[in-house]
């Protein structure tokens, strides 16, 4: 279970306070107007911003003082998720190993994920050759390939049409069930995601 226990942040000149719980294997949709600290909350959980007070607990482990890359978290950003000089294949492969040398089994896993997200035919392309939606799907593939128990998705469906949003959500759902992933999803596409969410938090 993820527990956000009285977490606060004052870095923007006004106080932000968060206090909620997300059960293991649940999908929590975080919604609300822009500038209310949704991305800040994810950044604090991921470790990019230090909270000024409170505790972030996941599966009984306090995350506050754990190094960013050691946290059981995989995060998707709003933008610039992909490295422009790496092909789709290598961008996705970073989710498996940062050395970019994949074993045959890892290659198979990558191709399977690419197929599920509809990007198999794009593996040799570069990010600049993709549409916004295709780029987000590649980034999503990388995030899912990391197989961390806590997924933080910050506006993962920006630029995707309804068909691909549903497809991506189905893939996320499948992965969630398969690996019992706990997911925090920040999105403005409330109506489409609502039915997949176990709880909705409006900030």
């Amino acid at each position: 279970m993820l527990k956000i226990d009285q977490v606060g942040f004052h870095g923007y000149g006004y106080p932000l306070h968060y206090n909620f719980e997300a059960p293991s294997g649940s999908l929590t949709l975080i919604s609300g107007p822009s500038g209310q600290g949704k991305t800040t909350l994810l950044s604090m959980i991921a470790g990019f911003i230090n909270p000024q007070g409170g505790r972030i607990i996941f599966n009984n482990q306090v995350l506050n003082n754990i190094a960013i890359n050691k946290r059981p978290i995989s995060m998707l950003f709003q933008d610039h998720n992909l490295f422009p000089h790496l092909s789709v294949y290598y961008n996705a492969a970073l989710g498996l190993t940062s050395s970019l040398k994949l074993t045959p089994l890892e290659k198979e896993t990558l191709e399977h994920m690419a197929s599920e997200l509809g990007i198999l035919q794009l593996l040799d392309k570069y990010p600049e050759e993709l549409s916004g939606g295709q780029r987000q799907r590649v980034a999503l593939a990388r995030v899912l390939l990391r197989k961390r128990p806590l997924l933080l998705l910050d506006e993962p469906f920006v630029g995707l049409d309804q068909f691909h949003i549903r497809k991506a959500l189905e893939t996320i759902e499948k992965q969630r069930e398969k690996y019992n992933l706990t997911i925090l999803l920040v999105s403005h596409q409330y109506e489409l995601i609502e039915k997949y969410a176990d709880q909705i938090i409006v900030i």
Binding site: A46, F48, N69, M75, D79, H80, G95, S99
Partner: protein, 503 residues
């Protein structure tokens, strides 16, 4: 100001085309084979060779320093060193050379494996002068790395090597030529370091060769050959790399502090580089202070020669600053010039001071020998013009973007637009432009030495006279005075009319 655009463009065109035309007319009267002789070949090969080695090494060292600057941990120290590295942009080259000679010369504090008065000494000086420029350019590259890439790297647990290989190197690689070309051109057209440190008459750049021909032979044919060659190489590089010269600096989004990527050992290395840079900068400051204090300051500072040079320098620099700033505003009103901005910004290195001076002298200067100081002012203003244009362009665009609609709505005339909108909003940038061109002109040696060094010296020309007569303490006094004057001018100009600038 819009009405000024076309007279300014016309004036500049007459000057540039007239100078080039005169050169061609003079060269036409001289057989080409006598212009391109062995001496010219030696000068050209030396210019290219030293420029290549200097710029290559400057780039390597500059890259290393930039990376250290990005990854070092002490942020206040980084900030201080970053600002101190900006000094070579406004400090006269003469002052920097004076300091280097005191540190590494024959009786210097540190011994180098080579003499400062040699080809290696020239390359070493070029490296010291250009590394800050490389750091300035390459820092922009790092600043263009999106914050998300830094975060992704930390998130995925990249090692230092992976971070360099996957994120930094691809960005750096795509900008290497952008940094190399301007540094190469700066070293290729170098004047003051080569003039002072060159060991033999053939180990000089084209700029110095032009000056030597001008001063000792006054052989127009020879001068024309050298000037044309200088222009040819500069324009060839501009033609070969038209898109390389200006940097497209748009964002500053890196968050190095919050997501340190590199290992502790590497961080220690980067910190050491920053401390070493600080040490070198401190040594440079102390070296200048020591020679100045050792010298008979009163004798130098209370001489009428010094006093007159100071007045001349101030007058030339301030007038050049005014002309350059006014011309820049006028030119920016012309849409054609705005599209040519990237080419104009590189002109000072393609057509350097001595080349420009020689062209102007052949065109009109020789017919009006009494107006030599006016030509010095004009050349300094022309050299400073691209800097003024660059400084003012961004601000003027921002003002237009913000107020264009409103100006149209209330139907302001161009004069009213300048008086009520642009002038008040541009005031801080106008001051900065004036301060920068004034500082650059204050440190100029090329134009003054070409036109009027002995009878009417400026401070830099006087300093050169001291160095020529091997009076290093006298030259240190002038170097110190130059440093104080430029700093004072900069502070004074920046604080001039502060309230109005805020409004």
């Amino acid at each position: 100001m819009r009405s000024l655009s076309y007279p300014i463009i016309l004036f500049l065109l007459i000057l540039i085309l007239g100078s080039l035309g005169s050169l061609f007319i003079v060269s036409y009267a001289k057989p080409w084979q006598t212009i391109f002789d062995d001496y010219l070949y030696d000068v050209l090969s030396f210019s290219l060779k030293q420029a290549f080695i200097s710029s290559f090494l400057s780039l390597i060292i500059g890259l290393l320093m930039t990376r250290s600057h990005i990854h070092a941990t002490n942020s206040s120290l980084k900030k201080f060193v970053g600002k101190a590295l900006g000094l070579p942009f406004i400090l006269p080259t003469m002052v920097m050379i004076q300091i280097l000679l005191h540190l590494f010369g024959h009786n210097g504090w540190f011994k180098l494996p080579f003499s400062m008065y040699s080809e290696s000494g020239i390359i070493f000086t070029h490296i010291i002068l250009n590394v800050p420029f490389v750091v300035f350019l390459m820092r922009q590259v790092w600043e263009e790395i999106p914050q998300e890439h830094w975060r992704t790297a930390k998130h995925l647990g990249f090692s230092s090597w992976q971070f360099w290989k996957i994120i930094e190197w691809p960005m750096v690689r795509s900008y290497l030529l952008h940094a190399f070309v301007p540094v190469f051109l700066l070293c290729f057209t170098s004047f003051t370091p080569v003039l002072i440190l060159s060991p033999t008459p053939t180990q000089v750049t084209l700029e110095v060769a032009i000056y030597q021909s001008f001063m000792f032979e006054l052989d127009f044919g020879n001068i024309v050959g050298l000037v044309l060659l200088q222009l040819f190489v500069g324009l060839l590089i501009l033609f070969l790399f038209p898109n390389l010269l200006p940097f497209k600096h748009e964002k500053t989004s890196y968050m190095v502090k919050s997501v340190e990527i590199v290992s502790r050992a590497e961080r220690f290395f980067h910190d050491s580089i920053i401390y070493f840079t600080l040490f070198v900068l401190l040594m440079m400051g102390l070296a200048l202070l020591e020679t100045t204090l050792d010298a008979n300051m009163f004798e130098v500072y209370f001489s009428s020669e010094f006093f007159m040079s100071l007045i001349r320098s101030t007058l030339i620099a301030c007038l050049a600053g005014v002309i350059s700033t006014v011309a820049a505003v006028g030119l920016l009103k012309c849409p054609f010039i705005q599209t040519m901005q990237s080419y104009i910004s590189i002109l000072p290195v393609v057509i350097p001071t001595v080349t420009l001076g020689a062209g102007l002298y052949i065109f009109i200067g020789r017919h009006f020998p009494d107006l030599s100081l006016l030509f010095v002012i004009l050349i300094n203003a022309l050299v400073g013009l691209p800097f003024a244009l660059r400084l003012l362009q961004g601000r003027l665009h921002a003002v237009h973007r913000k107020y264009h609609q409103r100006i149209l709505e209330i139907r302001l005339t161009p004069e009213q637009q300048w008086k009520f909108v642009e002038k008040p909003l541009l005031y801080p940038s106008l001051k900065l432009s004036f301060a920068l061109v004034t500082a650059i002109s204050f440190g100029d040696l090329g134009a003054i030495i070409l036109f009027s060094s002995h009878e009417n010296p400026t401070l830099t020309a006087l300093m050169y006279q001291y160095i020529e007569s091997l009076d290093m303490q006298g030259s240190a006094c002038i170097a110190f005075a130059l440093l104080v004057c430029i700093s004072a001018l900069f502070i004074f100009i920046q604080n001039m009319g502060g309230t109005r600038a805020k409004n």
